[in-house]
């Protein structure tokens, strides 16, 4: 079988995203059972290859693979031959030669997963590459919104914070707009991408203007290093102008959702108590993440599909 990959949300298209979300419903049900495990991927091996630190994405993928009865190998770069200077190519080809079925790659360089996909026979899943993309995060975010509020078509979604350095923002802009949502990016000028050409989004520097009209406020993590890079005057000023404070959360529409990909800097981009309000679906995002990653693994490795673009196998 030709190996297929999940490298970018763009590869999926609206039909592909919708199919992943539909199949995820079945895996949410599996996750709620007394024994949350099915034999669908017995005999398959999934490797997580993380060149960057991660808690939730790696754990989420490994949990997803185990709930499908796949075997899981965890490659920690620290303590491995990569720490001795082995090239990415030699490392992944070594892993591939052990006969694995899928490799989840996280790397600080944009495009690394696509490069890996060209080198190996296994399916490659992008677990986050540089500032480029984080497709499974976008899928679980779409799923969380759809489950809480219904179809994304026509929904108004504000993405707030460090857009420029955020792979989550890039994948989510693609996914949300493909499903018909109207996306507004809200950030200080220093944290906006230099150009928004070709992005079907609006941009604003005025959070208080955008908030009351939003159905979803998607808060991005602010990396504290941005201050030392002179992109921010101070964290306190950022919080005053762009933080989702208690006051601002009070001006949201009654049924608006607050989302965050984690890990949160409580008190910086989001107030501690706002993260715990009923409108915050942060923990639901994490729970749904396991089901959505099960759907991705099943569609790539188990369903007999040749890709994730939503095409009917009967037409293949």
């Amino acid at each position: 079988m030709t190996a297929t990959h999940l490298l970018s949300v763009a590869d999926l298209g609206a039909d592909g995203i919708t199919e992943v979300l539909d199949v995820s419903d079945s895996f949410v049900e599996v996750s709620e059972r007394p024994i949350p495990k099915v034999p669908a991927l017995r005999g398959k091996t999934v490797v997580s290859l993380f060149y960057e630190d991660s808690t939730r994405t790696r754990l989420s993928f490994e949990t997803a693979a185990r709930r499908l009865s796949a075997d899981v190998m965890n490659f920690a770069v620290r303590g491995s031959s990569a720490a001795k200077g082995e090239s990415l190519r030699d490392t992944v080809q070594t892993i591939d030669a052990m006969g694995v079925d899928a490799i989840v790659v996280r790397h600080s360089s944009a495009g690394a997963p696509r490069q890996v996909a060209a080198w190996v026979g296994a399916s490659v899943i992008n677990g986050g590459d540089g500032w480029h993309e984080h497709p499974t995060q976008a899928l679980l975010d779409c799923y969380t919104i759809r489950k809480a509020r219904g179809p994304l078509d026509g929904m108004r979604i504000a993405i707030l914070g460090d857009i420029k350095h955020s792979r989550v923002a890039r994948s989510n802009v693609l996914a949300f707009t493909m499903l018909g949502a109207e996306v507004t990016l809200v950030a200080p000028p220093t944290l906006m991408p230099p150009s928004l050409d070709g992005w079907p989004v609006a941009a604003s520097h005025d959070l208080d203007d955008v908030l009351p009209k939003a159905d979803v406020v998607y808060v991005l993590r602010l990396q504290k290093e941005r201050q030392s890079e002179a992109l921010l005057p101070s964290l306190r000023e950022y919080t005053q102008t762009y933080g989702l404070t208690r006051d601002r959360a009070g001006r949201l529409a009654d049924d608006a959702l607050v989302m965050h990909p984690g890990p949160m800097n409580r008190g910086v981009e989001i107030a501690a108590e706002v993260a715990d309000l009923p409108c915050s679906v942060v923990t639901r995002q994490v729970a749904n993440g396991v089901a959505v990653r099960m759907a991705v693994l099943f569609l790539l490795l188990g369903s007999g599909r040749q890709g994730l673009d939503g095409a009917d196998p009967a037409d293949a």
Binding site: R33, I35, F298
Partner: protein, 187 residues
């Protein structure tokens, strides 16, 4: 599994050769099976119905209605999708048809699995594995509208609407208003 086989694995269009049951035949068969379930289990205490996606689910609901008429008691109805338990994952396209819904504990219950067509028995094998993950039933019984033969596993039904000898390449289609036997013509 007539409906699923009709759509998979390589597409094609179902052409009926003959109708083997009409709407009245179906109704009588459901009523008879309801009587047999009640007789065999001495009532409905502890009896639950689980329909297999997709064809078994409407049949399970009809059987529950018939049981209510016969015995004046309700049997809970669940639905089960066995896609993740199939033994042909990787050999042909396998996709879940619908979300499983078993909103009751199966431990200690008598589970009547309901499907439209019994063929190779592989779907029922997958269903037995799946039920294990929901609890430990006291007993599992199998009700099907059509038993068309060609078993590949040691599985037999407890309640049968109609025994229907078929060729392996034929397709049986169970609908609400009758049962047809025919073939799928490719593309």
């Amino acid at each position: 599994m007539g409906l699923r086989e009709r759509a998979a694995p390589a597409g094609g269009v179902f052409h009926a050769h003959a109708q083997v049951m009409d709407a009245e035949d179906l109704r009588r068969a459901v009523t008879r099976i309801a009587h047999e379930v009640v007789e065999r289990n001495h009532g409905l205490r502890g009896v639950v119905l689980v329909g297999l996606q997709t064809g078994g689910v409407p049949l399970a609901r009809r059987l529950a209605e018939a049981l209510a008429d016969v015995e004046g008691a309700e049997a809970p109805v669940g639905s089960l999708d066995v896609a993740f338990y199939r033994d042909d994952i990787g050999l042909r396209p396998v996709m879940p048809e619908a979300v499983t819904s078993i909103p009751f504990d199966l431990t200690g219950k008598v589970v009547v699995l309901v499907d439209d067509v019994l063929f190779t028995g592989r779907t029922v094998r997958a269903a037995l594995d799946a039920l294990n993950d929901y609890g430990r039933p006291r007993a599992v019984q199998l009700a099907v509208m059509v038993d068309r033969g060609h078993r590949e596993l040691p599985i037999r039904p407890d309640y049968v609407g109609k025994n229907l000898p078929t060729r392996r390449d034929e397709v049986v289609d169970v609908r609400a208003d009758g049962v047809d036997v025919g073939e799928v013509r490719r593309g």
